[in-house]
């Protein structure tokens, strides 16, 4: 019987090429052989503790986090990355729900283990080094990873395709985040479809820009180790100066959210030919402005650029669009299309009663096929709401609005959540953003509907970072192409925009900023909001 263990390809690479570099992380370089040695040691321990079959990993961008993930897989368990930025109460609530067999932490994760969190943590905790930590309840044991005395597990456990490979949490708009369960079989389908166009090879040096709690890290880790390539993990600090990292590490493959392009462009550093080592650049997770994509491609004279689309619920991504000349642009948005689906996946565009819309009309993007996930961990009602059986097939409803053009290419118009009503007019924030981006001449922008009363907003407020234009100039330029209801009432010029845990621009944090200002609790930093215009004068 075929073994679907997520760590199987890695174990084969480690056996055949133990000397090759696997992972460069936090200033350390670890070979395939050394990584496999550490993984099989921890896997032996985890196997001996297996009950629920779920292992938590509280850490990111560290050797301990990667060893924890791979050891969970190797031992035949499900890995569950937990976010270091979650508040304590959320961590406690999720650990209670998950019934983890063990928690593997890195140094940063260990610093979070207060008595309160330890009390909710599983019986076994594996830490990187000796710490001044005491078990919080009888039977709880804190073990040092390098000092584990159980027998190493020599080969990855047998795993069936329907077993859960990982649970990755997506940020819900309310309440607890949703834990998406992806089976080993779905991931195998994803890797099969993704390998031909990425074509990673042993000489490739992949860059990891994401935390392990973001599922782009699934793509990087498992495709990299399957190919025998090396993964170069950026620290949070290095994320602020990505250009140097790419050059210093001679990175050949880059994958990130598009916001990173805006960050480099803002400094004026994204010059043509800057990244000769890059052969493939992949962007995902947010609308990709065509100008930003073209500037990035010009900086990678030996590379190609792909825009990819997909929700965590359907295993990383399932559509892609290469940046061509001329580019395939989404009309009126100046963003790159999301392209065509993987041949194994079926796409539908549905109306609000889950019926297909007429050709050329926008609808909610729904996905069907072997990459569609099992559902949300411990949340059957939420699972039933988003994973639906329609005409005998199981579909995942993405909450994204899109349309298919005459050539069969798909275009993303925005999140259904970002369709807001402003004084009764229905507005897509992404559409306002497209005009704002053009008017401000920069990519780091965002618009929110605020303040909101009774489900309808009183107006739009925009934020811009790094533009040389004044708010008045920007509003005037927007007024030339947009109806009055879509012009922001105020434009705040900031030094930088808040990003969420996955590096995307965080609209909720921007709303919080406005709320704080409105209630007189000015935020601690130096960036006091200075609204530059008042109601409609420039119009």
């Amino acid at each position: 019987m075929h073994n679907f263990n997520l760590a199987l390809a890695f174990s084969e690479q480690a056996r055949q090429h133990p000397e090759r570099l696997a992972l460069a992380v936090a200033g350390r370089e670890v070979s395939y052989g050394e990584l496999a040695r550490q993984v099989s040691l921890l896997a032996g321990f985890l196997k001996s503790r297996k009950r629920s079959g779920r292992i938590g990993v509280l850490g990111t961008r560290s050797l301990d986090a990667y060893v924890g993930i791979l050891a969970a897989c190797w031992s035949g368990c499900t890995y569950v990355p937990l976010n270091l930025k979650w508040p304590a109460q959320r961590l406690i609530a999720l650990m209670a729900l998950l019934e983890l067999d063990a928690l593997v932490v890195d140094e940063t994760g260990a610093a979070l283990l207060t008595a309160e969190i330890l009390a909710a943590a599983p019986r076994d905790i594996v830490v990187p080094q000796s710490l001044a930590l005491a078990p919080e309840r009888p039977g709880q044991a804190i073990s040092i990873r390098s000092g584990l005395t159980s027998d190493p597990m020599l080969a990855p456990a047998q795993l069936a395709p329907d077993q859960v490979g990982y649970v990755i949490f997506t940020s819900g708009t309310t309440g607890l985040p949703k834990g998406v369960m992806i089976s080993a079989g779905s991931l195998a389908h994803y890797l099969d479809q993704t390998r031909p166009w990425t074509d990673y090879r042993p000489e490739d040096r992949l860059c990891e820009t994401c935390d392990v709690t973001f599922d782009l890290s699934v793509h990087n880790l498992f495709l990299c180790l399957k190919a025998g390539a090396s993964l170069h993990v950026m620290s949070e600090l290095e994320m602020l100066a990505p250009a140097r990292f790419i050059r210093a590490h001679a990175v050949t493959v880059w994958m990130s959210v598009p916001t990173v392009i805006g960050l480099i462009r803002k400094t004026g550093a994204l010059k043509p030919g800057l990244f000769p080592s890059l052969r493939l650049s992949i962007f995902c997770g947010e609308p990709l402005p065509v100008q930003a994509a073209q500037a990035w491609l010009a900086a990678t004279p030996n590379g190609v650029l792909e825009n990819i689309y997909g929700p965590t619920e359907a295993t990383v991504i399932c559509m892609r669009q290469r940046l061509t000349d001329p580019p395939v642009v989404t009309q009126g948005r100046d963003i790159l299309a999301i392209g065509r689906p993987y041949v194994t996946m079926e796409i539908a565009l549905l109306d609000s009663s889950q019926q297909p819309v007429a050709p050329g009309i926008a609808g909610e993007i729904a996905l069907c096929g072997p990459q569609v996930g099992i559902g949300y961990f411990g949340q059957p009602e939420l699972t039933a709401d988003r994973f639906r059986e329609i005409n005998g097939k199981r579909w995942y409803l993405t909450g994204d609005i899109g349309y298919r053009d005459q050539a069969g290419v798909y275009h993303h118009l925005g999140r259904a959540d970002n369709q807001v009503k402003v004084k009764g007019n229905r507005i897509e924030l992404e559409e306002v953003d497209a005009h704002l981006r053009r008017a401000a001449g920069v990519e780091l922008i965002a618009t929110v509907a605020w303040p909101t009363r009774h489900g309808s907003a009183e107006g739009l407020v925009s934020f811009v970072a790094g533009s040389t234009r004044t708010p008045e100039q920007i509003r005037e330029a927007m007024a030339a192409s947009l109806p009055r209801s879509m012009i922001p009432r105020a434009i705040h010029m900031l030094d930088s925009l808040p990003q969420n845990v996955n590096g995307k621009i965080d609209r909720r944090a921007l709303i919080a900023l406005l709320e704080e200002q409105a209630t007189g609790h000015s935020p601690g930093g130096s960036d006091h909001l200075e609204a530059a215009t008042s109601g409609g004068r420039a119009l």
Binding site: A26, L84, T108, E236, M239, L240, A241, A243, A248, A269
Partner: protein, 89 residues
């Protein structure tokens, strides 16, 4: 140490307190790689170094890992200040 550098140090220490690190911090202790401070704090520190000390951090070959400790941050700021005399107000 100039008044500006002292102020920068106070800002960094205040960030640490805000994140729950009350104790003394060694000048060569890692702030970011150790997870004590996050990228938002780093951005704020970089803005101060650029604005108040006249250092251009946008060079694509600038090594940001030089900003991981208090001693490193102060060294980069002081060097920028020395090159940009008189210090900006």
């Amino acid at each position: 140490m100039t008044a500006e550098v002292t102020k920068l140090r106070q800002t960094v220490l205040a960030m640490l307190v805000e994140r729950g690190f009350e104790g003394p911090i060694a000048p060569d202790a890692s702030l970011f790689f150790s997870g004590k401070l996050d990228s938002l704090s780093a951005t704020e520190i970089m803005i101060i170094i650029e604005r108040d000390f006249g250092v251009d951090l946008s060079d694509p070959d600038f090594d940001i890992t030089q900003l991981d400790t208090l001693a490193q941050i102060e060294a980069v700021a002081s060097k920028g200040q020395a090159q940009n005399q008189p210090a900006p107000a």
